[in-house]
């Protein structure tokens, strides 16, 4: 086995030889640096340019087609009510795992006093969880969730039923706009450990092309659009 530096040099040298270029070629380096800095956009689907209620409707439609349950809740109070009733619909006990997300913490939980909330990463016994998405792209009903203490990644994958809250004002049209929002939070070229783009509940079609929910991740996903 080659030593690490030799292996690295071997691969990069072979690439440069194949391309017929030199490592110190200034023009190439500038081209690369420029492109990374500018991160130009390509073609954006026209459906991603819908605005306002049309945009929310697109997100809702996409998520629903992809097997999620979607609810529009005008106020935080109704959000809590929707969460409680979803647990009932899924036949789950009123227990919820969530992170330290302040928006979620500030929901009027007294309106659903019987929900037992626990915090932190998901544990194997957790059956329901609640997260908040930082942004969603309506073009394919895709919610962007980021790792960290606010909304631990495991909340999105271990429990059977997952609820994601998204503010209507955090719904954008295109993936590109969504990433700009993420960049605004973390800075250019920096990302948290995980950014999950979630567009529905877990599913598989591996067996005879029959779609079955809950392959490994949640079998049910509720998306609550607040506002």
């Amino acid at each position: 086995m080659s030593a690490p530096e030799e292996a690295r040099a071997a691969v990069l040298d072979r690439i440069r030889a194949a391309l017929g270029v030199a490592s110190l070629d200034r023009a190439r380096r500038t081209a690369v640096a420029r492109r990374l800095e500018r991160h130009p956009r390509g073609t954006i689907p026209s459906r991603a340019t819908r605005r306002g209620e049309e945009r929310v409707a697109l997100l809702t439609d996409m998520l629903t087609k992809q097997g999620a349950d979607v609810s529009r809740v005008p106020t935080p109070k109704e959000a809590v009510g929707a969460i409680a009733s979803y647990l009932g619909t899924c036949n789950l006990p009123p227990r919820l795992r969530m992170g330290a997300d302040r928006v979620l913490a500030a929901l009027p939980w007294r309106e659903a006093w019987d929900i037992e909330r626990s915090f932190g990463r998901a544990e194997p016994g957790d059956r329901a969880s609640l997260s908040r998405a930082v942004v969603a792209a309506a073009e394919t009903g895709t919610l962007f969730l980021v790792s960290g203490t606010d909304n631990p990644t495991t909340l999105s994958f271990l429990p059977e039923a997952h609820t994601i809250l998204i503010a209507a004002s955090d719904i954008v049209g295109s993936y590109e706009e969504a990433w700009d929002r993420v960049r605004a939070i973390y800075g250019q070229g920096m990302l948290p450990r995980t950014v999950n783009l979630i567009s529905g509940p877990s599913r598989t079609a591996d067996i005879e092309q029959t779609i079955v929910r809950g392959a490994h991740g949640p079998s049910r996903l509720l998306v609550l659009i607040l506002g």
């Binding site: 690490p4 991160h39 390509g42 073609t43 950014v195 591996d206 392959a215």
Partner: protein, 475 residues
Amino acid sequence: MGNGRQDFKTDAAHALADTALQKALQNVKRGFVDKRKAARAKLPEFDTLREDARAIKDHTLSHLDLYLETYERKVTESGGSVHYAPTAADARAIILKLCQEAGAKLVTKGKSMVSEEIGLNAHLQAAKIEVVETDLGEYIVQLRGERPSHIIAPVIHLNKETIEADFRRAHHRLPRERRLDQAQYLVAEARKVLREKFLAADVGITGANLLIAETGSSVIVTNEGNGDLTSTLPRMHIVIASIEKIVPTLEDAMIILRLLARSATGQEITTYTTFATGPRHDRDPDGPGAYHVVLLDNGRSEMLGNEFADMLRCIRCGACLNHCPVYGAIGGHAYGSVYPGPMGAVLTPQLQGIDRARDLPHASSFCGRCEAVCPMDIPLPDMMRTWRERDFARGNPPFSERLFLKMWAYAAKRPLLYHALANAIVLFMARRAGASGRLSRLPLATAWTGTRDLPAPQGRTFHSLYARARRKGRP
């Protein structure tokens, strides 16, 4: 395993006679083909996106060394480590060492064609590390000791009765009277069985659909969420990816992702698309403490400089397989390679050598459907033909074939000789066919007449008839 010509023809014959497989292959033709068509119809910008995607890949490949350097720097900045692997053996050794250093006894795996390419599982298992595939299809082929038969749908070749039998055999501790006759029961059982493995794993290994230079991120797409449980729960996450997976920016990644699922299964996007960057941050309550990326070359850098460079644009969507009449007739296993179908016909000779894999580029009618549906505009038939040229130049075709071709070419370059011979041949054939208009048997033509009659020639060549007509004054 693809040891040469004999295996392919034999395997293809078995596949053609396998009624269960033939039935299952209908799912490919009906399902994926129709769904992709529908997805394309719903996205008016589909073809423009293909142009964008091609341009992104072409730009990246022509600056591949620099983007890899940038990527490596960003991974390191984010607390991860990058390991270059010139060969498959290098990659296996690196990954084994990382697993051993982590004290790993159990490894979970997300779906990775590259890991199959390098034979990773067997290597780890030989070192007494338990390896569990977590993608449901990959889990099933692992139970069966088989290869996946399709790069996107590993068990498209199996029916649920077969899978039930596999589960009963492998999960023998579970109650015998349990129901497994529906897909939902099989999935529920897999979920339970694999959940234990997810939670107990020391190391999680995934592939990467994309690597992003801008942020040092690796991207995986799944519908199941198994890739996420694999990469989030264990204390170490290892990514194995070939070097051409890299794209410059997040925007570039999304252009390609707009095409990937639509081309593969007709979905607008997969349920989960995950961007992983480095290990967990200090205060993260979950996530791996260590993140390693193994960058595999294994022939890619060579392809950059030869006639197969365009193949490096491949995003492994499987559309070419789905639309290929040959794949649709014989399925994936007959190809004897990790990569079947048209993309496999181009990539496998590069990986295994044309001598061993010569059937793959030859077993094509060049119908061109693969090229027509490829989101990355890869000229697959042209590259298969280039392999045929290399094969021919090495003198690989059987003597009788080369002789026949030489004789034919000799005549074809000499019109008078050709016309004279042609007249004689068609006269003979027409006489032999008589009034029937067809030949069901003909010496030297049993390959055709085994299954098809040969229509009889009309009796004289066009050139002789035309010359005769002109002599008689007709135009």
